[in-house]
């Protein structure tokens, strides 16, 4: 590392008081303006229920995306072309696709209810949004998984064989731990990114935080409230995603040093 890195890393540390100052300024504003504070507090439970939806969508989308993505990543590494080609095509198409377009697609193409064994099951919009985000998430996870698997040198397999481990044991104790360590930081980055994309679901009418904020803003119809409510939405996402990104960077640095 060069000496030039020092002031910048210092700046990161120095950013904390700065952010704290910004937060307390907002708090102070709320305290000074009693009416605004009361209105915000009134709407806070509604906003919170919206944000819970964001978290729910992000977790489900990421779970589905991870399951699909790992499978796709393994397929991408297959020696057989017929297995490899569809996975490569999937990743190519859906990595380049805007998330918003995919959310529109799943929302409008899938029916509002599905028939399973003669029963009509509702297929709500928020679940469609989950699918809309799981589709690109799987494409990204596939790339992360492929990179992680490829990062483990093949000599590790030989070495494990050399000390008498079976194929399964090698995978379990030698290869997977190394893959996971490599994949974790980008996977966390992706989670933060998918979480931020859940705000897009507001555009197809899912009751999440941004949608709740718009509801509140149109209900109260006051400029200071509009500004405050959107700032609150920004702050909520920031407080959720910033720790994740800090942790990711810590892990990356830790990984780079070994």
């Amino acid at each position: 590392m060069s000496a030039a890195a020092l002031p910048a890393r210092g700046a990161l540390r120095w950013a904390w008081p700065w952010l704290a100052a910004a937060c307390s300024a907002i708090l102070l504003w709320w305290l000074l303006d009693a009416r605004l504070t009361r209105d915000l507090l009134d709407w806070l439970p509604y906003l919170a229920s919206g944000f819970a939806m964001n978290v729910l969508i992000s977790m489900l989308a990421m779970t589905l995306g991870t399951l699909g993505g790992v499978a796709l990543g393994a397929m991408e590494l297959s020696a057989t072309r017929i297995v490899r080609a569809p996975a490569v095509a999937y990743v190519q198409v859906f990595r380049n696709a805007p998330h918003l377009v995919l959310i529109f697609a799943t929302t409008y193409i899938f029916p509002f209810e599905i028939i399973v064994a003669g029963h009509y099951l509702p297929f709500p919009d928020w679940l469609k949004a989950v699918l809309g985000l799981a589709i690109p998430a799987a494409a990204y996870v596939a790339e992360i998984a492929r990179g992680a698997i490829q990062s483990v040198p093949t000599t590790q397999w030989d070495a494990a064989k050399g000390i008498g481990l079976s194929r399964g044991q090698t995978l379990r104790w030698i290869i997977l731990p190394q893959c996971l360590r490599r994949a974790l930081p980008p996977w966390m980055n992706l989670y933060a990114s998918i979480t931020m994309s859940t705000a897009l679901a507001s555009l197809v009418g899912v009751h999440e935080l941004l949608h709740a904020a718009t509801d509140a803003s149109t209900a109260v119809r006051r400029d200071d409230f509009t500004i405050a409510i959107y700032l609150t939405v920004l702050l909520a996402f920031f407080l959720f995603c910033y720790p994740i990104s800090r942790l990711t960077r810590r892990l990356e640095r830790h990984l780079a040093r070994r």
Binding site: A97, M196, T214
Partner: protein, 247 residues
């Protein structure tokens, strides 16, 4: 000639269960093409904005001057960790409203929704550019910077002639990645009724219920733009490659 090919395509698609007859309706095709044009214009304006702002932010972050680095650092962190759509909503419904009021009414406000989409997406991606470039600048070996100092370069000249050119090379893959994201981000313009391709498509499919057909068109369109962006990126990478530096 074109009409015949179009007819043939529509028939072929119909056998797959896809209804592309809207391509025969002049008004709908025109509005769809106009939407694509708007998307291309958004991209063409936001890309240079993101690069210019990204370089400026990276320069501030590595300047070693806290009064310059700290606000930019705060901006970068805030931007990277909040949804672009929320930023756009905030810019359009809060900042734009304040601007309108300051300028004496919405009629006097020259800033259109189109402007806000370019500004928000461009400056959002600039934060990601800045991080990539900062990494590249800091990766330049310290003795090289010292050599430039010893020759009599000022810190701005060192940035311009030595560290930034080298950082551009190391950061290029990341920058291209960011630009691909930028292209995709322009779709949020539809949220504030900027008539880009997604918005134009919504207008068509609410009339015709042909979502899947339009989706395929949109995905191909974005695939094509992003293919072009990555191709240009790789071309630049090859042009800038120097023997004995970087990968």
């Amino acid at each position: 000639m074109i009409d015949a090919a179009l007819q043939r395509f529509i028939e072929l698609a119909a056998t797959l269960g896809l209804h592309y007859d809207f391509l025969l309706s002049g008004t709908e095709v025109r509005s769809w093409l106009a939407g694509m044009g708007t998307t291309l214009l958004l991209v063409a304006l936001a890309i240079p904005l993101s690069l210019a702002a990204g370089i400026a932010f990276a320069a501030a972050l590595t300047s070693g001057r806290p009064w310059l680095a700290l606000p930019v650092r705060a901006y970068v962190e805030l931007t990277r960790n909040t949804p672009t759509l929320v930023q756009l909503m905030f810019a359009f419904f809060a900042l734009n409203m304040l601007l309108s009021r300051a300028l004496g009414g919405a009629a006097h406000n020259p800033f259109t929704p189109f402007f806000w989409v370019v500004a928000v997406t461009g400056l959002h991606v600039a934060a990601f550019h800045a991080e990539a470039l900062r990494g590249g600048i800091e990766a330049v070996p310290a003795p090289l910077v010292e050599a430039a100092q010893a020759t009599g370069f000022s810190s701005l000249e060192i940035l311009r002639f030595v560290t930034l050119p080298l950082a551009l090379r190391t950061a290029l893959p990341a920058l291209v990645n960011n630009l691909v994201n930028l292209v995709k981000l322009t779709t949020i313009g539809s949220a504030i009724a900027v008539g880009e391709v997604t918005y134009a498509s919504i207008m068509i499919w609410t009339q015709r219920d042909n979502v899947l057909e339009l989706m395929i068109g949109i995905l191909l369109f974005f695939g094509l733009i992003n293919l072009t962006v990555s191709r240009i990126g790789r071309l630049v990478e090859r042009r800038l490659a120097v023997p004995g530096y970087g990968a």
